[in-house]
């Protein structure tokens, strides 16, 4: 067990990556550590027919063609923009891709309203500049610039959260593949241009709910290939994702707790119900503020697990699950609570009398939680 709270993918799966690298005899583009096929295998998992001596577990669940298209994009000279609803696993896919390709997934720029061009290009160590003047030593490269210098993958999270002029700083990086540093002088022989090494590329993620806030310029759009990651609606694969992430979580917290499969079903079913009601809702007031993504589900489950581990009888119950569901989803005071209340009485109540199982307890827990909140 590493002493990191959350190890990046390249550390977490270091052993697996090492092994894959050792058996990989396919051609590798540029400075890639793994061939495209192996990258795919690392992400979507191996099968018997792949003829490997050990099994590689799948780490990202979804259509294989998304992964293939993403890998191929990184091998071309365009950047990759993963776009989708919150919680669909965009950042996780980006992390896995950069870990597999360049063994470094930490060169990340986080896009916010406060992101400036300096965060994308470079900034200066002011005291050093005062002492020694502007030089390569006193320059602080951005993660993207570092990726260029090392020929690796740089990541830009939530690209559309940053303002348009900042976004456009990426245009020249993606097309010319260099950053010029005019402060270092304009002479031809001065070291004033940072060139990208082969293997450099950018993976950006964007939230499709943010569309219209800071739209990408068409010049920038042209330099990115868009891969749209859909919300998982297939119950089987969603269950797979939730189980996978929960196990990982339990391992990280060193908690030994059983998640009964029936409770997992209850969680999946209640999210499916809530999604259906959100789809049928006419106005924003009639739907929950939450996007009801898979990540949200994992959040609910995590919350419930932690709660029962530290405050409960070290056993996950439907009651805890219900109260953490209500607690995580009720964000606006009257509206969200009203929807959850309606859901409990209109859907869960009849179901608990019909099906029984964990539902009656779930209903009770939900009611209590709503009563506490309202």
């Amino acid at each position: 067990m590493s002493d990191l709270l959350r190890a990046p993918a390249e550390i977490k799966y270091a052993e697996e990556l090492d092994w894959l690298e050792s058996v990989d005899d396919n051609p590798k583009p540029f400075s890639w550590r793994l061939s495209p096929k192996m990258v795919r295998l690392f992400i979507v998992g191996s099968e018997r027919a792949d003829g490997l001596d050990r099994e590689i577990a799948p780490k990202w669940f979804g259509d294989r063609s998304f992964v293939e298209r993403s890998i191929v994009t990184l091998a071309s000279d365009r950047g990759l923009l993963l776009i989708g609803d919150p919680g669909t696993g965009k950042s996780w896919l980006a992390e896995l891709l950069s870990a597999a390709i360049s063994r470094n997934s930490t060169q990340v720029v986080q896009g916010t309203a406060g992101t400036t061009e300096d965060h994308i290009k470079y900034s200066w160590n002011v005291s050093m500049v005062i002492a020694k003047g502007q030089s390569r030593e006193s320059m602080i490269p951005s993660p993207i610039m570092t990726a260029m210098e090392t020929g690796t993958i740089g990541r830009f999270e939530e690209l559309t959260r940053s303002t348009s002029d900042v976004q456009d700083a990426l245009i020249s990086i993606l097309s010319e593949k260099y950053i010029s540093v005019p402060e270092l002088g304009s002479d031809r022989d001065s070291d004033n241009i940072v060139f990208a090494k082969p293997g450099f590329s950018v993976i950006a993620t964007a939230n499709s709910r943010d569309r219209g806030v800071n739209d990408l310029s068409s010049a920038l759009k042209r330099r990115f290939n868009f891969v749209r990651i859909p919300v998982v609606t297939n119950k089987k694969s969603e269950a797979e994702i939730v189980r996978f992430r929960t196990e990982e979580l339990l391992r990280r917290h060193q908690i030994e707790l059983d998640v009964p499969p029936t409770l997992l079903d209850v969680l999946l079913q209640s999210f499916a119900d809530l999604r259906a009601s959100a789809a049928a809702a006419g106005s924003d007031d009639e739907k929950l503020e939450s996007a009801l993504s898979t990540a949200e589900q994992i959040g609910v489950l995590e919350d419930a697990i932690l709660h029962s581990n530290f405050f409960g009888a070290r056993e996950l119950t439907a009651r805890t699950l219900a109260s953490s569901l209500v607690g995580s989803l009720a964000r606006r005071e009257p509206e969200d609570l009203a929807i959850l209340n309606k859901y409990l009485h209109g859907v869960v109540e009849p179901r608990s009398t019909e099906e029984g199982g964990s539902w009656p307890e779930f209903l009770e827990g939900g009611r209590d939680a709503i009563a506490t909140l309202s």
Partner: protein
Amino acid sequence: MSAPHEQSGEQPHVQLHVQPHEQSDSRPFASLRGQLQEAATEFAGGSDALEGILLGLVDDVDRAIREPLEIFPVCHHSPASALAMARRLREKQPKVVYLELCEDMAPLLTELRNCKLPVAVQSFATGIDGFPAEWSPLSVVAPITEASAEYQAIAYALDTPGVELVLVDRSSDHVFQWDARGEQPSEPADPDAPPAEEEAALHGDAVGVEIGDLRPRFAELEEHLLRHGRVRHWSEWWHQYVELPLGDSDHDTYRQVMFLIGSLFRRLAPGDAHRVRVDEDRERYMWTRMREHRAATGVDPADCLYVCGAFHAASRVEEFGIDGADTFGISPRTATKWQHGLIPSSHAAIEAQFGLAAGSVSIAATVWAKNVKRTRVEPYRLEGQAGGRKSRARKKTVAAPPPVAEIEAKDRLTGFLQQPPVLDGLDEAELLGWSVDIVRAARRNGYLSSTADAIAVFETSILLAGMRDRAKPTPYDFQDAAVTCIEKDAVPGRRDVRRLVEIMMGGDRIGQVGYESLPPLARDVHDRLAPLQLPLEKRGVQRALLDIAGRPELASCSDVLWMLRRLLPHGAARPIMGERKLGERSIQESWDLALGTHQRALIELGYEGVSIEQVLEQRLRRAAYAPTATAATVLEAVEDATLYLRSRRLADELGHHALTVLTTERSVDGAPEVLRRVRRLLAYYRTSEPVLPPWIESFVKAGYAHYCTLLPVAFTDEDATVRQVAAMLGFLFSMESLALSLGCDRTQLELSVGQSHPQDPSKTALLWAAQTHLGTLPRAELRARCDALLGNPLVVPSYPRYLSGFVHALEPVPGLTDFVVEAVSNAFGRLPDPVLLPWLPTLITTLRKDGADLAPLLIREAGRIFPGRLAALDAWVPPWLAQPAVDAARPGRGTGGGAAYAGRSALLVAHPQTCDAVAELLGCAGEWAPEGSGPGAASGAALLGRHPETAAALGALLGG
């Protein structure tokens, strides 16, 4: 899933492990058998189910190869099959071609040449006999595309002299005989499936039959094959792993591989007992038919070719082969009468019907065209085939190389299975062409794509194909690449990149049935609409302008169009301007016509009769004589017969039937409709015919008696609404004069009104109105009753319901309009707000729903009564309030007013000349009585004394 299945899913990979062996054994497949046996031992550790399956596969192939009657296995929408078929036909020149297609469809095949493919051969039955009635109409379609093996066989057989084409599969009737619809619950529709597009719905809800259905019957196997093939759907797998490797293989290899695949899918099918039984029965059927044909004609098996799906070629039934057992008895067809025709089809419809991936049939068509060009194989094509390119004039003399002598089949399978995966070389020019084309198409559809994108698509396609272990990007790889590089966060136009690629790869092709192959009815319709000078056979909407006044010959077109509108689904013929009503003729009409788009509907109409008039007549008759028909529906049929067919004969016949239906009816539900229609028909006959048709006279007479009888019941029946009772009264009152003139008795009506004792306030109001109309309830009395209602606080809340009764009474008693206005005004004036306000919406909805034609009457009357200007309102007194004052001022009427009477006699006495002159004229020699004596008994007695005859006669009568 059982273990053997799991194991044998690995079958395609066996090739990696088998080692080449010397072919030492004399039997063709001995070495392959040996290798498979070894493989089975290696995988499963001994002779077990796996070995059984693997060796069984070889047995199946062996058996099919040894069959003296050459079996040609095909797969649907497989260009490789079509190409191999064309090649084989040129080489072998068979005399008889047996084809796996419903045998009753044979006569239609020659009509294919008049059509633009794809079209579907259809068997259709509405008059069903021997099947559950709810299955009606039965419909079977067999779509035929140009890129299919069966088309090659059909074209060869029909256009080569001396060649016979024999369809051997079970008839359409047997398709339903063997259908297990009744036994099995129908599968729930996939909720995620996108709604069917218009093109995809071309086949309607017909049952599809197809030659060469070849697909794993076993979901896990298909999934396994797709995953290992790194492909997304079955069509792509087939293209990649069968089409390409088989592309240029020789006949023997082709056959053996197809047999093997058929056998594989057959042996790995799950045990759906019904489906297996149907498949086997079909095989028995086909072989039995072939043996029958051979017995009848004595044809040499070497001259025959049996074209069937690879699945059926690997059959293990006893009847298999020309020497098979003759134990299968073909059940007789049911008495259902089948009609046959061709209907247009489309690639999308075929894909939707048979569960193929979108675009796969189009891609097959493109590949076929490319293969034909590349291999220079000359495909067969029906002489004069409509649509597509004109085929070059074939040199007939060259066509017949001598049939090749059969050589004994060798094992080609081992070689095929051992050959490394075929890597189709990268066709750079083609891929470049695609990349440039898609960018252009995207730009036309609003995407900001440029040459840079074309480069990226090209590069990405190759990279993607590489990742998926193929040198040449398939159309599907290309599609993925195009989506990756061009699709951004939003779709600017109507189509996204995925769809654009589909269109570029051939797009949907929609077939068309040529004029000559249309049923007589459809041809007739086209002939009769020819004066419109529109290309009606084309798809899409055409606007027709009919200036009937200027060109009287267009009137007949208009008739046809109105009938089509009545018969075809919505949208096929839609009037934009102009309407058809009884007794009216339009002088100009404009229509939106989409007959090309709805060609199937028109063709199916053709199964019902030879002309639209006949079909319409049949339909009207069917509607009128249906067990559920009511008098109203029959009258509607009468109206339609008059309106569209102008057929007095049919109208009379249906009218008489309406009479019968009416007299057996015991409810009054249809009364409003009956009233409306009878009124309309009466008005029409009165203006257009010299005398009323006898049926309508009888109808009025019978209706009068009928509704009189039902009236008391309807008044008290809770289920009968006010509107219905009002309509009954309307019938009775408005038809009264006609009915009385035909011998009805008014007493009947008076009696039935007298017997009516409704409880419901609205019906009570209706009854009062009826009584007023009949003269048994004076207006003053009616007014007094209403006043009493308003004055009584206990009944005030129900006053609005009385009012709604009065509003409905306008229909039968229009003379009461002023009273209704008065009643409504009183309600507004006197009803307390808690009663009035909740009632207002009800009044408005009642008026809008039931009184659309009554409201104008009310409003007109109100406009007459109320002052027109605001200023006049202050001084205005409603006429009903002014009435008593006027009455008092006026000299008294009637017998009661003594003072008035005195005034009048004083006037007479003052001017006796008038009276005298009248008396003289009448020959009455009266004299003036003195004032005050009054009209006493004396004058009466004097009169009697002067004329005793009357009294004497009365006395005689009484005394007698």
